[in-house]
Symmetry: D4
Subunit: 146 residues, 8 copies
């Protein structure tokens, strides 16, 4: 049984490659989808398609139109959502994607370091499972195939 | 990941062919579906199947039965809806299809010329993205595959 | 049994007052809600609350945020939607409100002149009832109380 | 028409009292509900009811059980959600509540300072309206009653 | 706890009065709603509001628009549906109302004579309870108040 | 685009074979599913699996368990429902299946002879299209592929 | 804000009276509803209304029709569900009611003794909160009103 | 037409192998999925992935996170649910899975011995079909393919 997994979370390092590599090592038949992971592209996509905007608010709003469009298409196609939180950045998109997934009844795993237990406690409580590493998240998914 | 795209909008020129051609040039794995694009066929389909009706109201109503049936089947099968508005025609079907798609949580792109910004402002605001050209709409969809 | 009725449609004349007056004459226990009917207020509400915007597109978009907010609150509170179409104006908001109501399973009545039978045929076909006058629409609602 | 408004956001100052006071000044018939606003009580409610837990993770998890229970009851009873973001704190609960409200089709207003435009851009884009002050949020709600 | 009960079924005798009388004798706090019970009115309501139609098919269709509108409004307001089948008439509206109620998760009671066990067996099986008399149906509802 | 069509209706003659044959002649890529069409098997399936029952009511109820199970599985898998009514039999299952399909937003076609216009008028009005022959129903579906 | 609470669980002692008494002492504005708590009445209600059945299986099935009807009506009217598990009895109805409530997004509290931690672990994990005493459950609800 | 069947029930013997074997003998094109059937693995999966916990309650809760995650993924992928009850064990997970499936509109078969008729009567009444043996359950599914 093939499953599609949406990888929500920051786009400042290549953690998604790590996920894909470990999934392959574990022979899990998973397809991964995600938000745009090129940060500059994600910020500028609105102006790239719709042209220059009259200020940062407007540039951000048109970029968001298109980023949200992408996320909605891909999350509707997904069977599982993994949301990774790290110690840097505000990560409100990660919280938004995880919360939306939970409200859509998508089975959801949160990955977060121990240092974030307290500020993420209500969201962790609503997700199915909260773990600390990518490996643990894939072990949770791998458990489906045992 | 293959996606099915419903192309709502006027059926007086061949803009859908343009969409398909540009999608092919961009190598996007999209399947396009749409309302009946032969205008006469669309208007006469009710009488063609159900026989002559006692007046225009009744002719229109039986045609609508069958046009709405087609749209409902195809929109339920679609992952994305593009709705194109032009400067001519009332285009209430385009507004109806876009609004229905949004209410069904289908990710939706509106294409409209600058001249229609004002009368379409509330509908544009509810759609995911509003652009001015077919090319821009396909760039938005292409962004999913980056 | 009291019912709340959302009155979608153009805001260029006082047809809603006529609806309310006739409902009172017929002793129907209805509460009417509607979009903002002051046209200037509707167009300028975005800038009135959020401040001047850098152009018409942006002015329209912030106005739409707030008009759509109002409509969403009031339509969710309504038991019935009446959508009136006239011969003037594009009336895409009317088409949007009627289509959204139908998609939300709100019982919906369309009022339109005979001249609009053809361009509204698919939307009329999806609504519960299509009539030509305010009086007929209230007779349809009055029938619930017989 | 009375409306119930859920006030999501940080619980470190009395901004909700300000909201209630301004609503009263504007004669808006609103009932406000919210998460527990006593921060210590919110953190300790789990142990207060369920007894001492074997560590911070567990203390947080039982508190979250009860905080999430409260939020679910009250948000289901609400017609509108206001989510206020400030410059301090991680505010993932605010993002979670706003995202959940949007996914539940609750009309949603975000209040955030200009400095947070960029990190909140996707969430703002999904909310109905984004403003910068409590007063603006109440003006948006007041517009329903015009 | 007051409950609203939709009474689906034939409109050729006054069985609904019997239901109301027995509910009153049992002191059950129920409000009853129903389709139009004046048979002529039900058949002619379309032409009464929309004017003469060009034939029986069209007369029936406009009557159905308005009868279905009424039923949709009242069934959405109901907590319980009772559907009574008798030995005469085709009663496809009764089957339609019962099936729609079940699909909407409305708790549903069917009343039918012993002679109809076989042709109603699949519908009875999907309803919550099937009884043979009005009194039994009210006993089932009365059980809620014990 | 392959579509699955549920064929609701009486099981006393081989009309479904006619549908399949005509669909093949028209080269429509349709898969047909249906209730059990062997009437004796349909009536006795409960006792065949669960053993002899203490009377006709109980025999019918266990058969209905299994017939409803089959219909629920197959209708959930279907994109379109055709419901055929004829002049004989009570056909409450046909009415039940058509009404359930409509409530599930399955695009629905009713086939009925002219003689049944009046008793089926409300159900016809809720279906997408009503026709008189199998050929017309397939023409409606064929229109999707034009 | 008044709330209605469904009390699922065994009907062999008067624990619901205890809940009501403690709620009154705490001045909580709660209305309690529940399954039939007279065990004999619950078992015999089917035969009481529908007459003697041909065996225990059939007696149980008709009683269940009516008990499930009652539960469906009352749970749909409830804002919160409390499900109490004790050390005796199989309590599959309690598990069914709690699971149904959770699937309906009703905020749910489980009360169970420490001895049942293990066999209830998956269900506890899906409920909002799990406590050991009636008092704790009311403290959780009381927290909504702080 | 291939169908996926979730097999809920105790994990103390190999009844699922029996189901698969009989399905193969009957040539039914079914794919079976299930909870983790290795009992020790199911109990220890939480600690295996998340590390040692401070007590049995906590060990059980982390195991439940992951078991519920697995069940949610697999049940969403299933077309049919079979829930088997035996005479031993509390089997609250079986009741939970069956109740959840029914609330999700998954067609559901219960297998239980005659001795459990009474305690399972309400749940049996809500399921589509209740049988006593694995063979009967497969006959019910096989009936779809006749």
């Amino acid at each position: 049984m093939k499953l599609t997994v949406y990888l929500a979370g920051q786009i400042h390092d290549n953690w998604r490659d790590e996920v894909a590599k470990r999934a392959e090592e574990k022979n899990l038949p998973l397809t991964f989808v995600s938000p745009q992971t090129n940060h500059d592209r994600s910020d500028s996509i609105g102006e790239a398609i719709l042209g220059e905007q009259p200020g940062k608010l407007y540039k951000d709003d048109v970029a968001s139109d298109i980023n949200n469009f992408r996320t909605q298409v891909l999350m509707q196609k997904s069977d599982i959502v993994i949301a990774l939180f790290g110690e840097k950045y505000k990560q409100w998109n990660t919280a938004m994607d995880a919360s939306t997934a939970i409200a859509m009844n998508k089975p959801t795993i949160i990955i977060r370091p121990e240092s974030l237990i307290h500020p993420l406690k209500e969201l962790s409580n609503k997700a199915n499972v909260t773990v600390e590493t990518v490996d643990q998240a894939l072990d949770v998914i791998g458990y489906i195939y045992e």
